[in-house]
Amino acid sequence: MSLIVARPEGLYCPPGDFYIDPWRPVARAIITHGHGDHSRTGMGAYLCHTDSVPILRRRLGEAIAVEGLPYGEVVERDGVRVSLRPAGHILGSAQIRVEHKGEVWVASGDYKIEPDGTCAPFEPIRCHGFISESTFGLPIYRWRPQAEIAAEINRWWRDNSASGRTSVIYAYSLGKAQRVLALVDPTIGPIFSHGAVEPMNAIYREQGVTLPATSSPAGLPKADLARALVLAPPSAAGSPWLKRFPNYADAFASGWMQVRGNRRRRGVDRGFILSDHADWSGLNAAIDATGASRVLVTHGSIATLVRYLRERGLDASGVQAEYGEEDLGEAA
């Protein structure tokens, strides 16, 4: 039997009697990261990386029973050793390494290969069984170096600023928004955050991540608004919240922006290809680096990645996990 199996409640470790990122209430949950589809309400007890603790408390309530674990530290129970390693996805994101009687499995949650300075970079772990996401599991997804994307964003902001237009970037409030913040050149103008983004910025700063100064746009002079960069969650698009900016250009920051049809459907002025997930080659490189002979593929292009891995001789199969909707209306 596998060390980790799929159950209706979530991914389950039978000898350790715990779930990983369960989507239904269970007694004990180990959480890979703070996005809503991986950390849900109603668990009896949560275990996650230390940096994820304030995120979980903020999103699931101060009253939850949550314990933080630093990367590399081992907890043992019933002969099962559990440790966390960086997944490079967002602050506190972790791959969960589970070891029992010499067999090692790793549940990676969501991950990204390219280091971005806002969270600990992804670390490959040798294992027998690897559980991988497949959000961007098609070879059309190949990310350009983020320095290039940063230059694009800064040029766009500078041009807008020169024409007296506010620059609004829609980015997921946890992770993506902070990533954009870390990439932009704060000398171009002031930076404002939407009320959903600012608390997450604060958590990042409290955990020691350096981000440029941000503030709320409320009550600021119009001249400042026109030069500003605004970070807002995708749900703010077309909402009354934007009425305070009389003249603005908007952009969406997401890996989905790689495909023209997605850019057009969003109806934004610009799409910046910036993802917190591994691209096609990243997924394959990560899977190869584990040396795992068994691979379970969750959320995304499951069938495609499974078939490709099988053709390469791996024992791969798909798991219907209820991940992939990081938050309603928000995006990868």
Partner: protein
């Protein structure tokens, strides 16, 4: 060609007519003042006005070239196409990034189709189409092109309703 590609990207990403007009003006200004580049402007206007040159390479061969260049199985190229919905875009996303920084004028691209012409320089002429990609297409792909596919060297601007 790079200037035209940049213009196209700019037009494609703009949602306001004003931005599109600005982008067109910025593209055309340096070309209009240099008569040696008028052919380039003519082709640009022709293409933007919806002009479509005759198919130079059958899509069957484009797919095969993309497969050769990427080493991906056929089903995966097909699956990518189904996801993107446009073959040209799919192939541009699948192919590895260009390794050279060749900047040949749009006019030259349009007038030098890859074709197995009766002249002995067919490979030289044909090689224009793929130099920015990492692999050289195999001769077999190109020699299978019917000569009738060769586009005329004269721009077809007159056939376009401007």
């Amino acid at each position: 060609m790079r200037a035209f590609a940049d213009l196209y990207r700019e037009l494609d990403s703009a949602t306001a007519t004003r931005h599109k007009i600005e982008a067109l003006k910025a593209y055309l200004a340096p070309i209009v003042s240099d008569s040696s580049r008028w052919g380039e402007a003519a082709w640009a206007i022709y293409l933007l006005a919806g002009g479509k040159p005759r198919q130079m390479i059958p899509t069957r061969i484009l797919r095969r070239l993309a497969q050769e260049a990427t080493g991906l199985p056929e089903w995966l190229v097909e699956e990518s196409y189904q996801n993107v919905g446009d073959l040209a875009e799919t192939l541009s996303l699948l192919l590895p990034p260009a390794r050279t920084n060749d900047d040949v004028a749009l006019e030259v691209w349009m007038n030098e189709p890859p074709c197995a012409s009766s002249t002995t320089t067919s490979v030289t002429r044909g090689s224009r189409l793929m130099p920015t990609r990492s692999t050289t297409p195999t001769g077999s792909c190109f020699s299978s092109l019917p000569p009738a596919r060769c586009a005329s060297a004269s721009p077809r601007v007159r056939s376009c309703r401007l």
